[in-house]
């Protein structure tokens, strides 16, 4: 696990927030009373929901656009001379890369992966990469993996070519950053299903729409982390450069970029993870590979096959994640050195490169001329599918009763009452609630007004009831998630073994496509909202656990020792010292949890959760405009909740530069997250330009 960059600065930050003033309990009770009273009055005096006469048909322009495309695509020059050649070009390049990869033969690819990992990140990573690729072959996933890898490589390349320069521009022009911020939010929060139809209409099916969808999803971290990295270069350093007469260009190249490199590298890492996260979606627009295997296995309920392909994605993610984060870490340690340490000895860098190059070339030659086999040998493959299917049906049989009871309880005592409450309240009271929450959290009138308006906009677009259904599920999922994650995080912070044991599980939970566990979750919890909540839990637990763990571990040892020397018990240390100090990190974890739960609303739709996710899916076949609108509603909910919870994480008006959040970025495992680091970038923007508003 990587080391946070600026130890000193971070520690200093944490000290600032030591004693966040907390409201006395009496005030809280009064507040609670006011809220309950308002809710009761609202339900009794007014009718719930959103009045139909205030709604507009927001889907209309999108559907009109779709129809225009259908009737004009064969004649309009935009299609004939721009879009069609563009898709042809992309299709050809992806296909060429696939061909190249497969012609290198399995031996060549494995050695190349190991050699590149070795050059970038050391021999351990070389070993990891080599074993990872052999495992892909052994699981019978060789061809699919290469097809997927080709798409990931090209889309990450495109995302970086766009993202890094944009990030630099953002760092220089805060205005641009402010304009881009809600757009980046949209790119990450609006489910890809919502814009697949327009993409297919514009670019047909195959590699092109898959690539564009992937780039849309994977681009934000590249922009955000580049910008963050450059802006966190100390002003004094830049000034020194300027004082020596450097041009802005020189300062950028010689000062800012090198110092920002760790952050940019983290952006690269996150971009790769996000690209892998959307690979199953790519299958639905006709791009084959591991994603298609998962998707197809799902159609015949073959959990074993789906899991095998899903594991392929996990393996690729872990290899790419560890190698790229190893690269940035190692680069930081040995910056400017011309030698590389190999087995404890300094070896010139060029020698390593030559060895790696020769090894790759040799492997490819042997693979093609001696072994003469492109694909991984069938004889060496094994299948885990049957065993997995047996285990799954055993689990369903044994636990089915218990889990069905859980479903009943959760629906009857949590989901139904909450949904009835939200639907029973008049719309303006719910919006007002959001505004008050925003005010209480941030003390910024602009945020409060924006929260009110954005919630109201959901109603205006005709999605009020559906959005409240989704909101009730999100709230339940978040509460359960936090209740599980914080104790686990504390345990993990206190016990290294627990942390070690948890790590692989957390990695898999974040990178295994949710489609894989859709079938067993339904088998256990019956179709409905509960499986959606469970799927959200699986996905959202890891960041919350990791951030709690991190926050507590980052509490300076001297403080804990001081408390202990005053005779505090272990529990007192936890309650009075560690938890208060870890508060910003834990709240960031809660923020992440909410965002991730919202990001899997679509998955909830796929397994009976209804709500906005179902609307997006419903749109796909006969009302694409409505799908887009539902996607926008998810975005609006996400923006409001995100800004409010982020403000909560900053108990003082200026929290300094969010050190613990930054550290969190490095702590994150392979995460196709809108990672802690990404959010951290956001929260830092927040604290830096004061008084700024949404968008």
């Amino acid at each position: 696990m990587a080391v946070p960059v600026r130890e000193a600065e971070r520690t200093a930050d944490l000290n600032v927030v030591v004693h966040a003033p907390s409201a006395p309990w009496r005030r809280r009770v009064i507040w609670l009373g006011v809220v309950v009273l308002a809710a009761i009055l609202g339900i009794v005096l007014f009718s719930g929901g959103f009045p139909a006469k205030l709604t507009v048909d927001a889907a209309k322009p999108f559907n009109a656009f779709n129809d225009w495309v259908i009737t004009h695509q064969r004649t309009n020059p935009l299609f004939v001379h721009v879009l069609n050649p563009l898709s042809d070009g992309i299709n050809t390049s992806v296909k060429d890369l696939q061909l190249l990869l497969s012609r290198m033969t399995w031996l060549g690819i494995t050695v190349a992966a190991a050699a590149i990992a070795g050059v970038l990140a050391g021999w351990r990573m070389a070993l990891l990469a080599g074993i990872g690729f052999l495992l892909l072959g052994a699981l019978g996933l060789w061809n699919d993996s290469l097809i997927t890898l080709a798409l990931v490589l090209i889309s990450v390349g495109v995302a970086l070519v766009i993202g890094i320069p944009l990030g630099i521009l953002c760092a220089r022009h805060p205005a641009l950053e402010r304009i881009l911020r809600p757009i980046l939010d949209a790119m990450q929060t609006v489910p890809a299903f919502a814009y697949l139809v327009p993409l297919v209409l514009l670019f047909s099916i195959g590699a092109t729409p898959a690539l564009i969808a992937t780039v849309i999803f994977a681009l934000p971290p590249a922009i955000r982390l580049t910008s963050l990295g450059i802006r966190s270069v100390p002003d004094t350093t830049v000034e020194v450069g300027a004082a020596f007469g450097s041009t802005p260009r020189q300062i950028l190249r010689k000062v800012q970029l090198p110092i920002a490199k760790p952050s940019i590298m983290l952006g690269v890492n996150q971009t790769i993870m996000m690209a892998l996260g959307i690979i199953v979606i790519a299958a639905t627009v006709g791009y084959p590979g591991l994603g298609l295997s998962v998707y197809e296995a799902l159609q015949s309920l073959d959990v074993g096959k789906a899991l095998t392909a899903g594991l392929g994605i996990v393996i690729l993610a872990i290899v790419l994640d560890r190698v790229s984060s190893g690269w940035s870490q190692r680069d930081r340690v040995r910056r400017g050195s011309t030698t590389v340490r190999v087995f404890g000895r300094d070896v010139p860098r060029w020698a390593v490169l030559v060895v790696a190059g020769v090894a790759i070339a040799l492997a490819v030659v042997i693979g093609r001329q001696v072994i003469r086999q492109q694909d991984f040998p069938d004889a060496w493959t094994f299948s885990i599918a049957a065993a997995v299917n047996d285990v799954v049906s055993w689990i369903t049989r044994v636990f089915g009763g218990v889990t069905n009871a859980i479903t009943d309880i959760v629906v009857r005592f949590a989901l139904d009452p909450l949904r009835s409450l939200l639907l029973g309240l008049p719309w303006w009271l719910v919006c007002l609630g959001a505004a008050v929450a925003a005010w209480a959290a941030a003390r910024r009138i602009g945020l409060a007004i924006a929260s009110f308006l954005l919630f109201a906009a959901v109603g205006v677009m005709g999605m009020w009831d559906i959005a409240m259904d989704t909101l009730s599920q999100v709230i339940v999922a978040v509460v359960v998630c936090v209740a599980i994650a914080i104790p686990l995080g504390i345990w993990s912070a206190r016990n290294d073994r627990v942390q070690q044991a948890l790590r692989p599980f957390l990695d898999v939970m974040q990178t295994l496509p949710q489609f894989v566990y859709l079938v067993p979750v339904i088998a256990l919890f019956a179709v409905g909202r509960v499986p959606g909540v469970i799927a959200a839990l699986v996905y959202a637990l890891p960041p919350c656990i990791r951030l709690t763990d991190l926050g507590i571990r980052e509490v300076p040892a001297d403080r804990v020792e001081a408390a202990v020397s005053f005779g505090a018990t272990k529990n007192q240390v936890l309650r009075k010292v560690q938890l208060p100090l870890a508060r910003p990190a834990i709240l960031l974890g809660v923020n992440q949890t909410i965002m991730m739960v919202l990001s899997v609303v679509i998955i909830a739709g796929l397994i009976g959760g209804g709500g906005l996710g179902l609307e997006v899916l419903r749109g796909i076949n006969h009302d694409p405009g409505r799908g887009v609108v539902a996607g926008i509603c998810i975005l609006l909910l996400a923006i409001v909740i995100d800004r409010i919870t982020q403000a909560l994480g900053q108990p003082t008006t200026r929290r300094g530069s969010g050190g613990s959040g930054r550290a969190a970025g490095w702590l994150f495992g392979p995460s196709r997250v809108r990672g802690a680091a990404v959010q951290e970038g956001v929260s830092e923007m927040e604290s830096e330009d004061e008084g700024k508003e949404l968008g």
Binding site: D67, A361, R372, R618
Partner: protein, 344 residues
């Protein structure tokens, strides 16, 4: 910036190595379909026909049969693309796909109007011959205790059997993919049945619910259809709804909430790119003539579901049913000789 240079160097070395070797000719040539030796097979191998495979096994069966015959008897090269239904129309209109062999008219009325009737790049390819039947299905084991469930009247008394946490006090009728056109809530309401539609959200989710219920021999009522591989794996009964009337048909088009009868039969059809006929006249004629029965498709789909590859299952059917497919091939050959210059 030394690091950047080394990175570029690594890249360059690697690429050189790869390109160097990739250029050398190798043992990757797979055995083509050629050599089947029949003298009458025309050489159309320069023309690639791309067929869409929808995500269900019946579609895989159609495509496997068409692919085998187009390659072996008419000499074409055939590529396939696995792709969702919704994306097929735009893809055919853009010629990314040449043909799709199984469209359910009930789900694609709007697409038919826009793309086929509106002359926007797609032509109607004629009937596939397979008849789809959407309906309300229950597992047959339920009939032993509740024989009245054979028709919808039984649901008046038995709706409570299907209660779930999601449906509350009403019985649950489980729908699958939300993008399919259904009238289920209207049917239930208009027939006075205390049933509530719950969307499983996807076909996979609906099937999982069926599988789970079946294992426990528990009650389940669902929107489902034939042909489907699950109809072979599970013994399901179509709960008889009131027969389709003219009033229903007009309600479907004008006022869906008034719909109150069974679903009409779906006469599945094919659709081609409007450029296919010029590009590959023989393939166009062959695919237009292609038509077989539910039994034919079911047999192949079942073999696929039992683990046979689609190609093998299709070949088994081809070997056993020459009288069914020979007319399709003859139509193709006639078109081939009809067009003066074979396409190249």
């Amino acid at each position: 910036m030394r690091k950047a240079r080394t990175t570029i160097l690594v890249g360059a070395v690697t690429v050189l190595a790869m390109v160097g070797v990739a250029c050398s000719n190798v043992s990757s040539s797979t055995s083509g379909p050629g050599g089947s030796g029949s003298a009458s097979v025309p050489d159309n191998s320069g023309t690639t026909i791309t067929l869409a495979i929808s995500p269900w096994q019946g579609s895989a069966a159609n495509v496997a049969v068409a692919k085998a015959l187009l390659e072996d008897k008419l000499g074409y090269t055939v590529a396939t693309t696995n792709i969702d239904e919704y994306a097929q129309f735009p893809a055919i209109a853009k010629d990314t796909i040449d043909a799709t062999l199984e469209i359910w008219p009930s789900g694609h009325a709007a697409d038919y109007k826009k793309y086929i009737a509106g002359n926007n790049g797609i032509v109607d390819g004629g009937k596939l011959g397979v008849i789809g039947q959407i309906g309300w299905y229950i597992p047959t084991y339920m009939l032993t205790a509740h024989p009245e469930l054979a028709t919808w009247q039984g649901l008046k008394t038995d709706a409570g059997l299907f209660k779930t946490a999601e449906s509350g006090s009403a019985g649950q009728i489980l729908d699958g993919d939300p993008s399919y056109v259904t009238f289920d809530q209207a049917i239930a309401d208009n027939l006075g049945l205390n049933l509530k539609v719950v969307y499983a959200g996807s076909e996979a989710a609906e099937l999982t619910a069926l599988k789970t219920a079946y294992a426990k021999q528990a009650p389940i009522l669902m929107y489902f259809w034939k042909p489907h591989w699950a109809q072979k794996k599970y013994d399901l009964t179509n709960v008889q709804l009131p027969a389709v009337t003219a009033a229903c048909t007009s309600a479907a088009a004008n006022n869906p909430s008034a719909y109150a009868c069974a679903y009409p039969e779906d006469d599945l059809y094919k659709a081609f790119s409007d450029k296919l006929q010029a590009k590959a006249p023989a393939a166009f004629a062959f695919l237009s003539a292609m038509s077989y029965t539910n039994d034919d498709q079911d047999g192949i789909a079942l073999d696929i579901n039992n683990g046979m590859t689609p190609a093998a299952a299709a070949q088994k059917w081809i070997d056993a049913n020459p009288s069914v497919w020979q007319p399709w091939v003859d139509a193709g050959l006639a078109a081939q000789s009809g067009s003066a210059a074979p396409s190249s």
